[in-house]
C-alpha cells in the first residue's frame, strides 16, 4: 500500500495534541513532520513537499483561513482542518477558501484515519472521465452519465447529475454549499441555499431507500454535503 509512505504535515500549536496525533499517525505507518505555527508550516510545505496537511484553526500567529489561502497559492495538496465547536463559521470559511475537509475536536483516531485516507485517495486516484464510480448499491457511469441502484437505472436530471458528480469527485469528503452552488448555478447564486435543498432532496428521493436516513448522500449540517463511501463508513464504525 503506497499510502504508508505518505508524508503528513501537522500544523498545530498545542504540544499535547501534536504528540497524540503523531503517535497515532506513525502507528499507522505515516510519516509526520510538525510545525507549531502558520509561518513555519507554510515554509515546510515549500521545503518538504508533504502529501497532506492537517491544519488547526486556532493558531497563534495566523488564522486558519489565511493559512489556507496562502497554502493554496503554493500547492494543491489536500488540507484537513481541525476545528473546535466554537469555530463553526471559521471552519466553513476555511473550507470555502480551499481546505478539503474538517474534523471537529474532540475526535477519535478512527475518524481521523478515515478522513486522511479519503483525502489521499482523492489525490492519488485522479478519476478518469470514463471511470465508473461504485459504492454500495450505487453505481455511477460518469462517461455515459448513467446512474444505477442495484443495477436498475435511475433517471436523473442534468442538474442532479452535476451535483452528484461533484460529490463523487470529492467522494468521502465534505463539499460546502457555496462550492456546489457556485459550480452548478454560478457565483451569483452562492447564497441561494434553497436551490440546493430542493435538488439534493430530489436526488435523495431517487437514490436512497429511506431519504430521512440516507446511506450515500449525507448532510453535514451547516456545512455542506458528503458522499459516503464504503471504506470510510467501515472505518468510521470502528
Amino acid at each position: 500500500m503506497n499510502e504508508t509512505a505518505a508524508l503528513i504535515l501537522l500544523i498545530e500549536d498545542d504540544e499535547q495534541t501534536r504528540r497524540f496525533l503523531k503517535g497515532s499517525l506513525s502507528h499507522k505507518g505515516w510519516r509526520i513532520i510538525e510545525a507549531d505555527n502558520g509561518k513555519a508550516g507554510l515554509a515546510m510545505i515549500k521545503n518538504h513537499n508533504p502529501d497532506l496537511v492537517i491544519l488547526d484553526l486556532g493558531l497563534p500567529d495566523m488564522d486558519g483561513i489565511s493559512v489556507t489561502k496562502r497554502l493554496r497559492q503554493l500547492s494543491e495538496i489536500p488540507v484537513l482542518i481541525l476545528s473546535a465547536r466554537s469555530q463553526e463559521q471559521n471552519k466553513i470559511m476555511a473550507l470555502d477558501a480551499g481546505a478539503d475537509d474538517y474534523l471537529t475536536k474532540p475526535f477519535g483516531s478512527g475518524e481521523l484515519h478515515a478522513r486522511l485516507q479519503a483525502l489521499l485517495r482523492r489525490t492519488r486516484r485522479t478519476m478518469p472521465v470514463s471511470e465508473v464510480f461504485v459504492t454500495g448499491l450505487l453505481k455511477v457511469d460518469l462517461a455515459q452519465r448513467k446512474v444505477f441502484i442495484a443495477d436498475n437505472e435511475v433517471r436523473i436530471t442534468p442538474i442532479e447529475f452535476r451535483l452528484l458528480s461533484i460529490l463523487i469527485r470529492q467522494a468521502g469528503l465534505v463539499v460546502t454549499h457555496r462550492q456546489m452552488l457556485k459550480e452548478v448555478w454560478g457565483a451569483e447564486h452562492i447564497n441561494d441555499q434553497h436551490y440546493l435543498r430542493i435538488y439534493m432532496g430530489q436526488l435523495r428521493h431517487k437514490l436512497e431507500i429511506n431519504p430521512a436516513r440516507p446511506r450515500y448522500l449525507m448532510t453535514d449540517v451547516g456545512v455542506g454535503y458528503r458522499l459516503a463511501i464504503d471504506d470510510v463508513v467501515t472505518e468510521l464504525a470502528q
Binding site: 433517471r155 436530471t157 434553497h194 432532496g201 436516513r213 448532510t219 449540517v221
Partner: protein
C-alpha cells in the same frame, strides 16, 4: 394643567361671622322699630316685643350668635325708648315690659345658641363628607398607581387640589440621600426645596413630625418601621390647627400616601425575594449538575488512565483497550455536555446569533440520526416526512442539536429496542415535527417541568444527565419563534411536538425542475 383647587368655602363659619352678620345685627332692631312705629297704637307692648324677638331670631338664624346678641341688646334700648312708657325715654316704668324685655333677651340668646349648634353640626357634616370624598378619590388614585413615580404624581396633584399648596415627594437614592425626582414635574410640583432639610427630616425617625424652613414644610412619610419618603410642601394659606379636624384630615391624607408607598415597597421586596430564591435554586441546580455530571466522567477518565499507567505491563491488550475506550467515551460525553452548557448559556444570554437559512427537515433528521447511530443500536426509527414538506427558515446546526437532544432523551427513557417515530406535517401556520417514543411516558404533571433548566427525571442515575437537553431544545425552538410541548400518548409513550413558523420560501426562478432526464 394647573386646575383651581377646590378648597371648601367656609364664609359662614359661626365663630367668625363677619361684617355682614354684625351689620344685620345692628340693622334688624332699627328695621323692627321702623316697621312697628306706625302700628304702635294698634299693638300692645307684648306684641311689639314679639316683633323684636322675631328680628333677633332671624339674625340668629342667618348669622352668628354674637350678631344675634348684639341685635337683642340693641333691641332693648330701642323698645324702651320708642315704645315702653314713658315714650322717648330709656326709662321703663312698666314691670310687665321689663319682664318682657328680659325674656326676649334670654330667648334670643337661647335660640341663637341652638341655631349656632345646628348650623355648626351641619357644616361639620358637610366638611366631613367633602374630606371623606377627597380621601376616597385619593385612595382610588393611589390604588391605581403601580410605582413610586405614579404615587408621587397622584400625591402632589391631590395635595394641590385639596389644600392649594404645591408640594413634592422626595425619595432617597441607593445611598440614603434625598434626591429631587428626575421625572418631569407637574405644574403644581414644588420646585424649591432644600434637600438638606428634607434629609434631616428623613433621618430623624419619629422625632420630628414636621419641620418648617423658609416657608416649606417637610413631613416624613412613615411606614411601621422606616421613613419611606419626605413630603415637602408650601405653607398652607391657613394653618392646619386653625380649624378642628383639619390637622387630622391632613394626617390621614399623608398616611394614605405612606401606606401606598409601603405596599409598593413590600411588593417590590417580595418580588426580588422570589427572584433571588429562583436564582439561588438555579445556581444550586447548576452546581450540583456540574459537580455530578462533569465529575462522573472525570472520575472514570482519571481512573482508567491511572490504571493504564500503573499496570500497562500486567494487563492484557484487551484490558488496556477497554481502559482506552472508557477514556474516549467519557471524554466525548464531557465534550457534549460542555457544548450543551455553553449553548444554553449563549442562548439564555441572547448572545447567540442564529444563522438562519432555508433548510429541509429531512436533512436535519437524517444528520441527527447519523450522529446518533452508535446510541440507537438496533432501535427501529420510523420516519414519516411527506415529500412536499416545505423548507423551513432555521439555523440548521442548532435545530439538529435540538433534534439530537430529543432523540437522545427518547433513547434514555424507553426500553432498549423500542421504536422511535419521527414525523413532520405542514399545518396552516407552522411546520410540525413530532418525535414520539414507546415507553412509560412522562410522569403526570411533569409535562412542563421537564423543560426547566437542570431538571432531570433521574438526577441520581448515571444516565440522568444534566437536565439541560430539553431546556436547550425549548430555548432553540423559541429562538426560532416556534414552540415545543410534551404530551403523553395513552398506553404508548411520550411525544414531543415542535412547531416551527411556516414561511414562504423564495421561488426557484429556474424552469428546470427535474423534469428532463439525461
Amino acid at each position: 394643567m394647573l386646575t383651581q383647587p377646590n378648597i371648601p368655602e367656609r364664609a359662614t363659619i359661626p365663630s367668625a361671622c363677619g361684617v355682614r352678620g354684625y351689620a344685620w345685627g345692628v340693622a334688624a332692631p332699627f328695621i323692627c322699630t321702623l316697621s312697628v312705629w306706625p302700628l304702635r297704637h294698634l299693638l300692645g307692648q307684648p306684641s311689639i316685643l314679639m316683633i323684636y324677638l322675631l328680628g333677633v331670631f332671624l339674625v340668629a338664624n342667618h348669622f352668628c350668635r354674637s350678631a344675634a346678641i348684639l341685635a337683642s341688646l340693641l333691641s332693648a334700648p330701642l323698645f324702651a325708648y320708642y315704645f315702653a312708657r314713658p315714650i322717648f325715654s330709656f326709662a321703663i316704668s312698666d314691670l310687665e315690659n321689663m319682664v318682657g324685655l328680659a325674656v326676649m333677651i334670654i330667648v334670643a340668646n337661647l335660640t341663637s345658641n341652638l341655631q349656632d349648634k345646628v348650623r355648626q353640626q351641619a357644616e361639620l357634616a358637610q366638611q366631613r363628607e367633602s374630606w371623606a370624598n377627597a380621601l376616597y378619590r385619593l385612595s382610588q388614585a393611589l390604588a391605581a398607581a403601580s410605582d413610586q413615580q405614579a404615587v408621587s404624581r397622584v400625591a402632589v396633584q391631590h395635595i394641590y387640589d385639596q389644600f392649594g399648596a404645591s408640594s413634592v415627594l422626595l425619595f432617597a437614592d441607593a445611598y440614603g440621600r434625598m434626591v429631587y425626582p428626575d421625572a418631569e414635574p407637574l405644574a403644581c410640583s414644588l420646585a424649591e426645596v432644600r434637600l438638606s432639610d428634607a434629609q434631616a427630616v428623613f433621618q430623624s425617625v419619629k422625632v420630628t413630625r414636621q419641620a418648617e424652613k423658609m416657608g416649606v414644610f417637610y413631613y416624613p412619610l412613615e411606614s411601621s418601621h422606616a421613613v419611606l419618603a419626605v413630603l415637602a410642601m408650601q405653607a398652607l394659606s391657613r394653618p392646619l390647627d386653625s380649624e378642628p379636624h383639619l390637622g387630622s384630615f391632613f394626617d390621614t391624607f399623608l398616611s394614605l400616601i405612606a401606606q401606598t408607598l409601603e405596599r409598593l415597597q413590600l411588593a417590590e421586596q417580595a418580588k426580588s425575594a422570589t427572584l433571588q430564591a429562583e436564582t439561588e435554586a438555579m445556581r444550586n441546580a447548576l452546581l450540583s449538575a456540574i459537580s455530578h455530571d462533569l465529575r462522573t466522567p472525570l472520575t472514570r477518565i482519571s481512573g482508567a488512565a491511572g490504571a493504564l499507567i500503573d499496570s500497562s505491563h500486567d494487563c492484557s491488550y484487551e484490558d488496556n483497550l477497554d481502559f482506552g475506550k472508557v477514556i474516549f467515551d467519557e471524554a466525548q460525553r464531557m465534550s457534549d455536555l460542555t457544548g450543551k452548557i455553553l449553548n444554553m448559556a449563549r442562548l439564555s444570554s441572547g448572545e447567540i446569533i442564529l444563522h438562519q437559512d432555508w433548510n429541509a427537515l429531512e436533512e436535519i433528521v437524517g444528520s441527527a440520526l447519523t450522529r446518533l447511530d452508535k446510541n440507537l443500536l438496533d432501535r427501529p426509527v420510523r420516519t414519516q416526512l411527506p415529500t412536499n414538506l416545505p423548507l423551513v427558515w432555521i439555523d440548521a446546526v442548532l435545530m439538529e442539536q435540538a433534534l439530537v437532544n430529543l432523540i437522545e432523551n427518547a433513547i434514555k427513557y424507553t426500553p432498549a429496542g423500542s421504536p422511535i417515530d419521527i414525523s413532520a406535517e405542514k399545518l396552516t401556520t407552522s411546520v410540525q415535527l413530532v418525535v414520539s417514543d414507546y415507553g412509560s411516558g412522562i410522569p403526570k404533571g411533569m409535562e412542563e417541568k421537564i423543560f426547566e433548566k437542570f431538571y432531570s427525571l433521574e438526577t441520581e442515575t448515571q444516565e440522568g444527565g444534566v437536565g439541560l437537553g430539553l431546556a436547550l431544545c425549548r430555548a432553540i425552538i423559541e429562538a426560532h419563534g416556534g414552540s415545543i410541548q410534551a404530551v403523553n400518548i395513552a398506553d404508548r409513550g411520550a411525544a414531543f411536538f415542535m412547531d416551527l413558523p411556516l414561511r414562504d420560501p423564495p421561488l426557484l426562478n429556474l424552469d428546470e425542475l427535474g423534469m428532463t432526464t439525461v
